[in-house]
């Protein structure tokens, strides 16, 4: 088994949703991630805040925002275990983030 990173991008602004909607959405995440955990394929993962500082020009320039905006903004990540890139991609298909306009990029974690 190898480790794969799901880079989750985009998504709607959840702060405009009602508490019930948020709770239902979080339940979907629990079910999806719970399924991965039960199969022993979940390593971990966290959502990310929108604010960011970006360092460029060899770390000499600091910008008070992420480089990407909207659909390109990384909103979170998940690390899973799978045998192939295709299997990992299959696992990503059930992510509840898709209901809220997310995209997921699946990348194998490289051994160096």
């Amino acid at each position: 088994m190898k480790d794969y990173l799901f880079i989750i991008r985009g998504g709607e602004d959840m702060s405009t949703k009602s508490p019930e909607e948020i709770q239902a959405h979080m339940k979907d995440w629990e079910i999806w991630m719970g399924g991965l955990a039960q199969k022993g394929q979940l390593v971990g993962g966290e959502p990310l805040q929108n604010e960011a500082k970006t360092l460029t020009e060899r770390g000499t320039k600091v910008t008070d925002r992420p480089l990407a905006e909207g659909k390109e903004l990384v909103g979170g990540y998940i690390i899973v275990k799978a045998n192939t890139l295709d299997e990992a991609t299959g696992l990503a298909k059930g992510c509840p983030g898709f209901e809220h306009d997310c995209s997921i990029e699946v990348r194998e974690i490289a051994k160096m």
Partner: protein, 425 residues
């Protein structure tokens, strides 16, 4: 400043009835190796309640408030420790506690009413593992499940706080080393494991019911806690066993008569002189209902017969109406289950009522030399009563004097002194 007395009362009540449940849930989340962490969270939640309610007044639903605070504190602890190895997150369900995607939602699952009940029961069974000595079981139950302070537990067993702390420590170490999970035993094990739980509950009850204690409040508390624990078993289908109903019935019958057993000054009144109108009829009725339910199934426990005996006393309008024949029959059935010397001793007293002192003397003679009875004050006191009725006053006085040496209870000592004095006069 709001009504502090009402707040104190509510908190006391919540502490007695909810802290054990909260501890059980938290132990399930943090693992039994982190028992103290679980207790700290509950303690913190109660302190927050005390401070907040004093200034802002009591919330509409104090219980829900307390649970919410405990839950939030548990979330804080998980966040702080998710990258440490203090808490074992290897279980798939617990793994979800380590991600913000799933932490709150998973945490909520642990605090659902049905799960809380099961965890509390599971904790009762964990406290009563056969490998833990009974005194350690009972100590742990009172402290962790009934919300007693170490001081209150020490008072309950007439021992030092130091001894209690040591007992608690030993049990916690046992949990930690053996990674004990609070669980309700499987259907195959439930009868055996429940019998251990019941004998601990009965021990708690007897500590409260017997007159060893001068403090009436502690006694009442022990009785009500024992009944509360037994009721918890009856509330769950998996643990509704006939013997649980029987013990509940027995405790109802005993408690119904507890007011009539003592004089206003706290002295003991023998059964024959008790004012039967002071007995609690409602509790006797409850006891009957429980005993009826205990009749289902094909097993009879000693609790069944003890309850049946207690019922005979409850329904006799006067002392002389007591159906001693039926009672003797129950004693014989009880001795068929186990040859308990205390039961044999009590049987002699029934014979005394039924067949007179000579027959009773013959029966008690057969128990002579039993090591447990030789050191049991009631054996000597009973022998004294029999000898007294046989007009063997010297022997009787010696018996009562020996009994006096064997009891610590002031009330019982006074009772025995009175007996001696009445013979001498």
């Amino acid at each position: 400043m709001k009504d502090t007395r009402k707040i104190d009362q509510t908190l006391n009540h919540l502490f007695r009835h909810e802290s054990g449940k909260m501890v059980s849930v938290l132990v399930k989340i943090f693992g039994s190796e982190n028992f103290e962490l679980a207790e700290d969270v509950v303690q913190d939640a109660l302190l927050s309640a005390l401070e907040t309610w004093k200034y802002r007044g009591m919330p509409e639903n104090p219980k829900a408030w307390l649970y919410r605070v405990a839950k939030n504190k548990a979330i804080d602890i998980i966040r702080k420790n998710k990258h440490s190895n203090i808490i074992d997150f290897s279980d798939p369900e617990k793994q979800l506690l380590t991600s913000e995607y799933t932490l709150k939602s998973t945490m909520n699952n642990y605090w659902q009413e049905d799960y809380i009940k099961d965890d509390f029961l599971g904790m009762m069974y964990a406290c009563c593992l056969p490998e833990i000595s009974q005194e350690n079981q009972v100590t742990f139950i009172l402290k962790s499940l009934c919300g007693f302070s170490t001081k209150e537990v020490a008072k309950s067993f007439l021992t030092s706080e130091d001894t209690i702390s040591k007992r608690l420590y030993r049990t916690k170490e046992y949990f930690r080393k053996n990674k004990i999970k609070p669980e309700i035993p499987s259907a195959e094990q439930i009868t055996d494991r429940t019998s251990v739980v019941l004998s601990s509950i009965y021990l708690v009850f007897n500590e409260g019911y017997n007159s060893t204690h001068s403090e009436a409040l502690i006694r009442k508390d022990l009785i009500s806690q024992a009944m509360h624990l037994c009721k918890t078993l009856l509330d769950s289908e998996r643990t509704q066993l006939p013997e649980v109903y029987a013990l509940m019935a027995l405790m109802c019958f005993h408690t119904a008569r507890s007011e009539g057993r003592l004089t206003p000054e706290g002295g003991l009144i023998v059964l024959s002189r008790q004012d039967r109108s002071t007995w609690n009829k409602e509790l006797i009725q409850h006891g009957k209902t429980y005993l009826y339910k205990a009749g289902f199934g094909n097993t009879f426990s000693t609790y069944h017969f003890e309850a049946a005996i207690a019922l005979q006393h409850c329904v006799a309008k006067k002392y002389k109406d007591t159906n001693w024949k039926a009672i003797l029959n129950y004693y014989d059935l009880m001795l068929d289950i186990s040859k308990d010397p205390i039961v044999s001793l009590n049987r002699c007293l029934v014979i005394l009522e039924l067949n007179g002192p000579q027959k009773a003397f013959e029966a008690i003679e057969k128990l002579k030399g039993n090591k447990i009875l030789e050191n049991y004050y009631l054996y000597h006191a009973s022998l004294g009563s029999i000898n007294e009725q046989l007009q063997c006053t010297t022997e009787a006085i010696n018996n009562f004097k020996r009994a006096l040496q064997l009891t610590q209870s002031k009330r019982e000592q006074q009772f025995l002194k009175d007996r001696i004095a009445s013979i001498l006069n």
